[in-house]
């Protein structure tokens, strides 16, 4: 370091000298770029007037930036030096995005969806490492399906240790194809009249049903056995909702009957309590029949024909808000701080905390809008109505106001749609024509995300040309289907016949694997037969050679040997 500062001084002197003599600038730069040994630098430091070798030493010490600065200064002197500067710029710039730190690349990849992340994983190992990052995949999983069911029982830490979120996502994505596979049908008998409502609690493997016989029944999801049934509640039960803590049922008389979960019981709910009376509560407040119920972590939502939706606090069991509509309320679905509801032929979206109306869709259906479903992120609404059509809306929140854009329409039924259920990417509809329609909405979700902000392209989707027909229709009923639910690779529905049907798709993947294995075995057998036939044709070739040899012998033999050749031919 002691030699750096004197060299700096002399470098400036040599630059002044260079400006004074522009003719020999090139020669001096060549001399200055020559490397010098360290001992020569020490030895020649005594000779102050001799500036050339010491200036070369200084250039070497300061590195490339000094050379660049000299080239910059030479620019007004000669045109040849000007052309070299763009060359330096082009050489230095790297057009690769991987020059960015991984945190910034991760910021860019967080704006992508899972399919694009999968494509980016195949680009290079660096991007593959960043694309497999943990928190993005958890966000994708929870957006589509919520937290996995196992984490509720075991705890979210264990799930993280067992599998990465990416593996969970890919596995779940693969298993969502099962609804296109083979199924088995279970029929649950027990109700004496029509089944009006069904709820599938996949995390606890329970099914709750109720209907005109005013009894709430609890079924085991896997083996289809009846676990328990309640006392008659005195009127038609039109709505049931449950989670692992609370089961609620609403009836025609306008009350909400609640059962709290008991932790010791294997099936959580005790319908005929003999000891503890605190597990049952009955809420009053509605003036008409209750048509829909829903739960979230802190609230109970109920919709009624008295044109109101009431919001109840789960802890105090008191009504905290009343949302007034213009017509009978048919269905409702909450999400975070909003609740979507249908009333008459309109669809409403409310802010739950303030009780204000966020947006409204007028005349969603011809006639009443009976059914409502929502994606897990709350951005997509599906409605079914009296005209047999199913509409899909997207709630776009611009930050100033929310709007509901119409995305798609399907008409798979010839009669009213009474119930809808959604689990990404499948939408299931139950209709009074006795059929269920399975609709894959994956492409529509992608299209509508791409069209965000561009309102002109929305008009094209209203025509319905792009929308595919339903992927599958499930038959099996003669008359009205009132309710349907989907979850855990099963579809459960109930209707006027008084039976509950379960379409079980859990075996679909295994059946497909067996079918492929059988096809493989058949192919192997065919290959073997063809090999055998080829060998047989080779043997017949040998017999031809024998006959040729026999002919040769016949030509050369004398009379007594003709008998021998005759025997061979015979």
């Amino acid at each position: 370091m002691a030699f750096e500062c004197p060299n700096g001084t002399e470098v400036s002197q040599s630059l002044a000298h260079f400006v004074a003599n522009p003719g020999i600038g090139i020669v001096e730069s060549n001399l200055q770029l020559c490397p010098k040994s360290f001992t020569e630098g020490i030895a020649t430091s005594k000779f102050v007037p001799d500036t050339k070798p010491e200036s070369g030493k200084g250039v070497k010490l300061k590195g490339a930036s000094k050379i660049n600065s000299k080239k910059g200064i030479k620019a007004p002197v000669s045109a040849l030096n000007q052309s070299s500067i763009p060359g330096d710029v082009v050489f230095n710039c790297g057009l690769s995005i991987t020059d960015l730190p991984p945190a910034l690349i991760s910021e860019i990849l967080n704006c992508l969806d899972p399919k694009d992340l999968g494509v980016v994983s195949c680009v290079s190992p660096i991007l593959q490492r960043v694309a497999s990052e943990h928190h993005a995949w958890k966000q994708f999983y929870c957006e589509r399906w919520g937290l996995p069911a196992a984490s509720l029982a075991v705890g979210s830490g264990v799930v993280d240790d067992d599998k990465s979120w990416r593996e969970l996502f890919v596995e779940r994505e693969f298993r969502s194809k099962t609804f296109m596979g083979q199924y088995s049908i279970d029929v649950l008998y027990g109700h004496t009249e029509a089944v009006r409502t069904i709820f599938l609690l996949a995390s606890a493997k329970l099914i709750f049903t109720s209907g005109y016989d005013s009894v709430v029944r609890m079924w085991d999801m896997e083996n289809g056995l009846s676990i328990a049934s309640s006392r008659p509640l005195g009127c038609t039960i039109r709505a049931v909702a449950a989670d692992r803590k609370l089961l609620v049922a609403g009836g025609t008389d306008g009350f909400i009957h609640c059962w709290r979960a008991v932790e010791d019981l294997p099936h959580s709910f005790e319908f005929r309590a003999t000891q503890n009376q605190n597990t049952e509560v009955r809420l009053w407040g509605h003036e008409g029949p209750i048509t829909s119920l829903a739960l979230d972590l802190t609230r109970i939502y109920s919709g009624s024909w008295d044109t109101t939706v009431r919001v109840w606090d789960r802890h105090s069991m008191k009504c905290t808000a009343v949302l007034r509509h213009s017509d009978w309320v048919w269905a409702l679905v909450p999400h975070d701080t909003t609740v979507a509801s249908t009333s008459g032929s309109d669809v409403y979206v409310w802010d739950t905390d303030s009780g204000t109306l966020v947006t409204i869709v007028h005349n969603a259906h011809v006639g009443n809008t009976y059914a409502l479903a929502r994606s897990h992120t709350g951005d997509f609404l599906f409605t079914g109505g009296e005209d047999g059509a199913i509409h899909m809306y997207e709630i776009v929140n611009d930050g100033y106001e929310s709007k509901a854009w119409h995305v798609a329409v399907w008409v798979p039924h010839s009669a009213a749609v009474y119930s809808l259920a959604f689990e990404f990417p499948w939408l299931v509809s139950a209709s009074s024509d006795g059929k269920l329609a399975l609709i894959d909405v994956r492409k529509l979700l992608k299209i509508s995300k791409r069209a965000l902000g561009k309102r002109v392209s929305k008009v094209k989707h209203l025509g319905g040309d792009i929308v595919e027909p339903p992927q599958r229709m499930l038959h099996g009923f003669k008359s009205n289907l009132f309710s349907v639910d989907i979850g855990a690779e099963r579809i459960v529905c109930g209707g006027e016949e008084g039976v509950v049907r379960i379409w079980n798709f859990t075996e679909a993947l295994e059946i497909e694997r067996r079918a492929r294995a059988l096809r493989g075995i058949r192919l192997d057998n065919r290959m073997r037969r063809r090999k055998l036939q080829t060998e047989l044709s080779n043997k017949s070739g040998r017999s031809d050679q024998c006959s040729v040899a026999a002919k040769k012998n016949a030509v050369t033999c004398i009379w007594p040997k003709r008998g021998m050749s005759g025997k061979l031919k015979a």
Partner: protein, 265 residues
């Protein structure tokens, strides 16, 4: 006399470049050696330079001391320093004067970039850059008004773009449609190289809105495209072997449905 004035200007540029080079190299060295080096630098410069230049060198040494004491955070990846030509410096100066022409009455903050250009921006633009705002909060009001804040990792071209973005973003925030239109127009004017430099500068100055906007634009360009398109757009060399790539394609086969096949070309 004309030649002498030209040579003095060139010497001024050279001295400023030397000062910046010394500042960069001094950070690499240890603190004790820095003190000795600066002491020797002061003694040598006072012998050779005029009194006015000596005062300038003293102020520069004071700035260097202040910089080291403030412990300004450095970005994770330091980009290699590039020297712009005189014409580019003039372009940056013109851009700076154009942006600050009509805003003389409000309180202003001076920002000095890597290549020696000084920008004067309004206080609300400086608040968008959280690194600059933290620097202003650490110093007192009197000294911050006088001294230009040094930005060692940001070039003049990127800072001009960032200032332009902040102004237009505020103007376009009145309606959401105008804001999206502005962001698309702003990103369409940049190629990947310029966008990458701007992302690094926005990360260093901690300008969150600009960073999110640029990330969104790059992600939007590669949505629904094939592997070859993404590789070509990002300028990434294919480091996979044939077996590795086939394995990853098989693992991610679920992601290749509905990929835009036209983007292979």
């Amino acid at each position: 006399m004309a030649k002498e004035s030209g040579s003095s200007k060139i010497e001024m540029l050279e001295i400023s470049n030397e000062a910046m080079a010394e500042a960069q190299s001094s950070k690499i060295e240890m603190l004790e050696i820095n003190n000795e080096a600066m002491a020797e630098a002061q003694s040598s410069k006072t012998v050779t330079m005029k009194p006015a230049e000596a005062e300038e060198s003293k102020t520069e040494t004071q700035k260097i001391t202040d910089e080291e004491s403030k412990n300004v955070p450095i970005a994770a990846t330091e980009e290699e320093s590039k020297k712009l030509s005189i014409t580019k410096v003039e372009e940056s100066k013109n851009a700076a004067t154009a942006t600050t022409e009509g805003e003389k009455e409000e309180a202003k903050v001076s920002l000095k970039t890597l290549d020696g250009v000084t920008f004067e921006v309004e206080a609300w633009i400086a608040k968008e850059m959280e690194t600059v705002q933290a620097y202003i909060d650490d110093t007192s009001a009197d000294t911050s008004a006088a001294i230009a804040i040094p930005l060692h990792n940001v070039a003049g071209r990127e800072l001009a773009r960032m200032v332009e973005y902040c102004k237009e973003h505020r103007r376009a925030s009145v309606s959401a449609g105008n804001l999206k239109e502005f962001e698309e127009r702003f990103a369409a004017a940049l190629n990947l190289y310029e966008m990458k430099d701007l992302i690094i500068a926005a990360n260093y100055l901690n300008t969150k809105k600009l960073l999110e906007s640029l990330s969104r634009c790059i992600a939007k360009a590669i949505k629904n495209k094939s592997v070859e398109f993404v590789r070509d757009y990002f300028g990434v060399t294919n480091d996979y072997t044939t077996e590795e790539e086939a394995q990853y394609r098989e693992t991610n086969a679920w992601a290749f449905r509905n990929v835009d096949e036209d983007s292979r070309n």
